[in-house]
């Protein structure tokens, strides 16, 4: 069968509309989460408390979208009893919005920590290490949402691959932060906070990877979770 999924063309126009609507809601949720992450990183790097507080308090919007999309999916499952690619789409959406909601939680964490760090007058040079990791994670999230929107397996696999870099970068930041704590014990508290931010960013990378794995399941019908990249490529290409 052609790998490109055709999610419209159901005999029922209403069903087409329902699927299209839920899909566009997921993309809207993705956009919101992407903005939250970008703002969280920006707040951290620029010590902008206003943005930090906005991020810390805006998670409710993402949560509300998760609940609404979940409800839409439940109704479609109950009323349409979808099969094949339609079923995979709904399963993918239900899983994806959980990941997006958790990304939102991580962004919220970034906001809270940014507020605390700015209270302590920590200099932005302390978390310059996060800049690169932050950019990497933002790109990864953007690409994973793109892969979902375009249902593109190759994009998804490339993004999954880039999670390895994020993990390596995270390990490297942790080593630097440990060194700093050993050198100057007075900075331990703030450095720990920076490490939590690094951890939050790394987790966002993991969730973006999950979104990509869901995309592969949607398009190919294969569950590639917990398999090595080489095996994924072997099975899919």
């Amino acid at each position: 069968m052609d790998n490109e999924l055709n999610l419209t063309h159901h005999i029922s126009h209403r069903f087409n509309e329902e699927l299209e609507e839920v899909r566009s809601n997921v993309m809207a949720m993705g956009g919101l989460v992407e903005k939250q992450v970008a703002d969280g990183i920006k707040a951290l790097l620029t010590s902008d408390t206003e943005i930090a507080e906005a991020v810390a308090s805006s998670d409710f919007e993402v949560n509300a979208m998760e609940v609404a999309i979940d409800e839409q999916c439940t109704q479609i499952l109950a009323r349409r009893q979808p099969a094949a690619s339609d079923l995979r789409l709904l399963v993918t959406i239900i899983k994806t919005i959980t990941d997006l909601e958790r990304i939102g939680d991580e962004a919220e964490k970034l906001g809270h920590i940014a507020v605390k760090l700015s209270d302590k007058n920590a200099s932005s040079s302390q978390f310059v290490e996060l800049r690169h990791l932050g950019e990497h994670v933002k790109t990864m999230l953007h690409e994973s949402l793109d892969a979902f929107a375009r249902m593109d397996v190759n994009d998804a696999l490339r993004t999954i691959e880039s999670d390895k870099l994020v993990n390596e970068e995270f390990e490297s930041i942790m080593r630097q932060l440990i060194t700093r704590m050993m050198e100057d014990p007075r900075e331990i508290k703030n450095t720990l906070r920076v490490s939590w931010c690094a951890r939050a960013l790394e987790r966002i990378g993991d969730h973006a990877k999950n979104v990509c794995e869901n995309v592969v399941y949607l398009v190919k019908g294969k569950d590639i979770r917990h398999t090595s990249l080489d095996k994924m490529r072997e099975e899919l290409i």
Partner: protein, 295 residues
Amino acid sequence: MDANIKLKNELVDDTQTGLKTLQGNSTADMEQEIGATIGQQFVDKPKMQARNVDVFYGEKQAIFDVNMDFGEHEVVALIGPSGCGKTTFLRCLNRMNDTIPICKVTGDISLDGEDIHSKAMDPVLLRARVGMVFQKPNPFPKSVYDNVAYGARLHGLASNKAELDEIVTTSLQRAGLFDEVKDRLQEPGTGLSGGQQQRLCIARTIAVSPEVILMDEPASALDPIATAIIEELIDELRQNYTIAIVTHSMQQAARVSQRTAYFHLGKLVEIGETNQIFTNPQHELTENYITGRFG
């Protein structure tokens, strides 16, 4: 009306409907490339095997080169749009098509390795081994007891009344109907509800100890509760029989079968494990059909 005549008339009606639908297919549709059958056509322990089966109604070919097995203790669902040949193919399996003069079946169909078209095979005995349950419940205009006892008497399965009673009771129990009708065994079978009548027909089929049961949309005329009871029964019967079921309900095929075969324009397009067919079909036509898309 005599039960056999009624049965034959229903068959002819069904066939004519199938033919009309077949004739309604445009040439362009017929030319659409379907390709070779995809999926798991054959099994390790086949009960019935169909090889290169073609069916013609007069000049018109209804089934094209179907190759597949029906395994022991499995339920195989045959799905596809109206006129795709699934019922025609099902009827080949116990030579019900012999009753239609213009129908010609070629290819090999075997039961336990034995050619069902061989001269040694008595069609009446074949139909006892490969029983059939139809779309509309069609109890004979006889008592509940006689409906179930009919086949057993015909095939001389009981040597005395006690044995016949035992066959009737066991069959009704297996069909999940005994408790509901035990006090009215002598009342007409036609007086039962639709779901009960269908289970009575299943009991009648079981009474002659078949090895394979063919079901042609057995629950399409029933309400959801009666349907659920029939589906539960199908699942239980699987322990002892091979079952082939034609159904228009995707959900029913998904619920009751282990393998699903998708027919389109008389060809077997795809066959595979039901789990796979309903989550990740390989052929675009199968995908379009089960998701309700335009072909």
